[in-house]
Amino acid sequence: MKILHRKKIFIYVIGIAAVVIICLLEPFILIGKEQYSVLGSIVRLSREERQHYTVIDAIRHGISGWAYILVPIIASIPQASCVNDKITSRFCLFAESRQGRMQYAFTDLLWNLISSSITSLIGFGIYALICDTFFPTNPDMSQIQIIGYEEISFTSQFLYITNKFLYMTLYCIAISLVTSFLVMIYQNLYFDLSVIFILNYMLRRLFMRDLIYIPLIIIGITALMYGPIEKLRSRRL
């Protein structure tokens, strides 16, 4: 199976780049008559103009909107195409006979987890690094005095970013598992990804609430269903 995963390295690289680009292109600052994306504000605004916006602002705006719809789909493509290749090439028969059905299903599950985490975490990590380079931790308050204003500490900033990344990673894992699950039922990658994209779009408001238990429930249900579906699929073969 390693050869199949190695073949997908290119998709991982493209996926990570796509995650960073999507986050950078999200709308961020509105100045006068012009709306700047995160990338636009980095390229076209001066350092002084950017001083009023923090890293957390940039991360909150960057990981929103289209990022919720597209990033989980992008993160699920490498593993979904791998599962599709394994089934259509019948490689899975050899692996299954060597490992046993349940262990094979468990390996698939683990690969899903690793693959989607890698794409999302590296992508968001690069994006966070870019934000950290160009935006300050706290806004410039040298000329304004706000009563009761407290500076954001490094710890609270770290906790916010960790929390956001953890949620997005779990969300990506959940969508990746559902996509692979769909690929196991019906092997047409375009069809499966389109269905997931439409479903993800329809449920976007639910996912945008950042409730951590929602992806956890999806992961739990899909993981429980993985064994029986693998059993059904191999019987159908």
């Binding site: 008559k33 047409n188 069809f191 269905v195 994209f197 439409i198």
Partner: protein, 288 residues
């Protein structure tokens, strides 16, 4: 073997039926998501803000003249037709019975049918979504012409979607008809180019050339660079053909129609000539 119109129609209908029943057709639904988010919802929000109806054709015109959507529409369409002409065990028998000329003309006819169906589905889906908020007449709505001024919308939402290049220069019926003709001709060029890739056995190379051409053309068009007119994709949207205020062409849309039709003519001749001698084993690729 002579060309038989009956055989041509049989090939076209058989291919069309296969295309229509391919599970990938669901991608048209997925395609509606960006169209809804980028075009339809902002127009509906503007209409609700002004408490005025929109012209039912305005979202269609905005879709056909949007840079991002014009990038996505042909890409999705190419994916939809990527497994055509179908290469299955049956093909060798029916080409043998019908003759290569009838077969390739049937394939080109089925391409026209895919195009018309694809654009008709997109248009119908847009019309269904905006119908409750709209009227049908040959005049632009107040929402299209005045929204940015009335709302003081700083980001210029409506002028990004429906530019003054369109509503100052012509009535919506004409804008819709011209946009539709240009889009259909452009999609037909994409299909024929891809078909040529199939008969020359270089599907992936032709696909890459097409995608690069579309991306480069859309980028140049977004930058309003005059070099864009060298890319056929830029002839497919109506907006850049007109100046914003003066009734003058930047590039005549009728000349664009002529250019796209000429490209099609050349592609059809090349496909027809090659199809007569091509080794059938090299046509197409693996079916997915």
């Amino acid at each position: 073997m002579k060309i038989s119109m009956k055989n041509v129609f049989l090939v076209a209908i058989s291919e069309y039926r296969k295309w229509l029943l391919t599970p990938r057709i669901i991608m048209v639904l997925a395609m509606m998501v960006p169209i809804r988010e980028i075009v339809i919802l902002p127009i509906i929000r503007a209409s609700q803000y002004m408490n005025q109806p929109i012209n039912v054709l305005e979202p269609c015109i905005a879709t056909m003249n949007s840079n991002i959507i014009t990038l996505l529409v042909p890409l999705v369409f190419i994916v939809l037709i990527s497994s055509f002409p179908t290469v299955d065990g049956n093909m060798f028998f029916y080409i043998g019975r019908m003759g290569r000329s009838s077969w390739i003309i049937g394939e080109i006819m089925s391409d026209i049918m895919y195009n018309v169906t694809y654009v008709a589905i997109l248009t119908a889906m847009i019309l269904i979504q905006v119908a409750p908020y709209s009227f049908l007449a040959d005049g632009w709505s107040i929402v299209a012409t005045d929204y940015d001024r009335v709302s003081g919308n700083s980001t210029g939402t409506m002028s990004n979607l429906l530019a003054p290049n369109l509503f100052y220069q012509m009535a919506p019926y004409k804008a819709f008809a011209l946009s539709l003709v240009l889009l259909l001709l452009w999609l037909m060029v994409c299909t024929l180019f891809f078909q040529m890739g199939s008969v020359y056995g270089r599907k992936i190379l032709f696909f890459i050339i097409l995608v690069v051409q579309i991306a480069a053309g859309c980028a140049l068009s977004a930058l309003d660079n005059r070099l864009m007119w060298f890319f056929p994709v830029c002839h497919s949207f109506l907006k850049p053909h007109y100046q914003a205020y003066f009734r003058k062409y930047v590039f005549s849309p009728y000349l664009s129609v002529l250019i796209l039709a000429t490209i099609q003519g050349v592609l059809i001749i090349l496909i027809y000539r090659k199809a007569k001698t091509v080794n059938l084993d090299t046509i197409g690729g693996p079916q997915q």
